[in-house]
């Protein structure tokens, strides 16, 4: 495969799974410029690792792993990071619908996610995206039973949060 073929394949694959990029950025960054900064960093890491993608797992599994690893590291170093301000032409990821204009339920979900630690954010995102427990376990590097236990706890926490809001 020539370099341009590889680039074309990469672009097509990423285009097919761009939603992963969008959701990971929204889950880990509150403001638009940080989301863009993170999106570019994820994209760079994806491209840098693409030659190692051997198809033994699904492309989405591979993409989640890299995107979440970059996002968690980014999230932890964000306090000390130099912030960039991006113009519209400089934005890799552009959305017509911003999270704060989303339905109330989705906003509630984002609020709940924002209260979680970085690893639990990854877990809940993978769960909401409809991944099987086995896939989640594979991406996170923990056992399936552990995934099930943690999801059950998150469900209880969510119930509690909604209960408190109503009360």
């Amino acid at each position: 495969m020539t370099a341009s073929d590889l680039q074309k394949t990469f672009q097509d694959r990423v285009e097919q799974h761009k939603k992963i990029l969008y959701k990971v950025c929204n889950v880990y960054c509150a403001d638009r410029d940080s989301r863009e900064d993170l999106a570019q960093e994820i994209m760079f890491q994806l491209w840098r690792s693409f030659w190692k993608f051997d198809g033994r797992c699904q492309f989405s599994t591979w993409m989640y792993r890299i995107a979440l690893n970059v996002a968690i590291s980014f999230f932890r170093s964000e306090r000390t990071r130099t912030r960039h301000v991006f113009s519209d032409e400089e934005r890799l990821l552009q959305a017509v619908v911003e999270p704060d204009r989303q339905p109330e339920e989705i906003q509630l979900l984002y609020e709940f996610i924002a209260e979680l630690d970085p690893l639990s954010r990854a877990l809940i995102l993978l769960y909401l995206d409809g991944n099987q427990y086995q896939e989640i376990a594979e991406i996170l590097g923990i056992s399936e039973t552990n995934v099930a236990t943690k999801i059950s706890r998150l469900k209880s926490r969510m119930k509690q949060k909604v209960g408190t809001k109503k009360g």
């Binding site: 959701k23 960093e41 760079f44 840098r48 552009q94 630690d117 909401l128 590097g141 969510m158 119930k159």
Partner: protein, 225 residues
């Protein structure tokens, strides 16, 4: 509201995303040119450069120690400096190796543990380099430099009392710097750089890294309700 109901809403929203978001293809092509942009790669590069730069004083100090082996008053300060430089070079090589081993393609818990271990090591190295550096890079360095460069005996031109007092002050500065940093570090809001340095000296950031490692271990641990 149940998480499973919200999951359905999430899926509904997800279906709309395909038409709502777009990737800038021009920028997508441009990402491959920023080869050294990522913090980890830069960190590995700087650690490698630090180790390489450390080799120069190592060679010079080796020569000096060999030439003054029979004169402990010159050889001992050079040995102290040499030990400091060897520790610094070894720590830089270790950090570089750890940074290069991090592969984002591996499971998240494993990679986050590696990153946090690297961060903790970096903070420990920085803290001890600052605390002990002021000790070896003042009086021992002065003695070695004067003798090595100009063949001047520091013990003769400076009084022995001056050398001992300075050395003792350097030693006393280690616990004093830690104490002052712990006491006043959080109050230095107006100067973020000084505050960061004081937090490093106080060891707060090492504690934070250890806490993060503990929370990763807790996440990995299988517990039953």
């Amino acid at each position: 509201m149940e998480l499973d109901i919200l999951k359905e809403k999430w899926a509904e929203q997800d279906r709309k995303l395909d038409t709502c978001i777009r990737l800038n293809q021009r920028l997508l092509v441009a990402v491959e040119t920023h080869r050294w942009r990522t913090p980890l790669r830069l960190f590995a590069l700087f650690s490698g450069m630090g180790a390489f730069m450390g080799l120069i004083p190592l060679m010079l100090l080796g020569q000096f120690i060999y030439a003054h082996w029979t004169e402990p008053r010159f050889a001992l300060p050079a040995v102290a400096l040499d030990v400091w430089v060897i520790a610094y070079v070894a720590a830089s090589i270790r950090q570089m190796a750890m940074a290069l081993q991090i592969d984002y393609n591996k499971p998240i818990v494993l990679i986050q543990k590696q990153i946090e271990n690297l961060r903790a090591l970096r903070l420990r190295v920085l803290r001890w380099a600052l605390l002990t550096g002021q000790l070896v890079w003042w009086i021992p360095f002065l003695v070695v430099m004067l003798k090595g460069l100009w063949n001047v005996d520091a013990y003769k031109i400076l009084s022995l009392r001056f050398l001992i007092v300075n050395l003792a002050l350097g030693l006393a500065l280690i616990p004093a710097a830690v104490w002052v940093s712990r006491k006043f570090g959080d109050r230095m809001d107006r100067s973020p750089a000084v505050q960061r340095l004081m937090r490093e000296l106080a060891g707060y950031n090492i504690t934070a890294a250890s806490d993060r490692l503990a929370s990763i271990a807790e996440f990995q641990q299988e517990t039953n309700d």
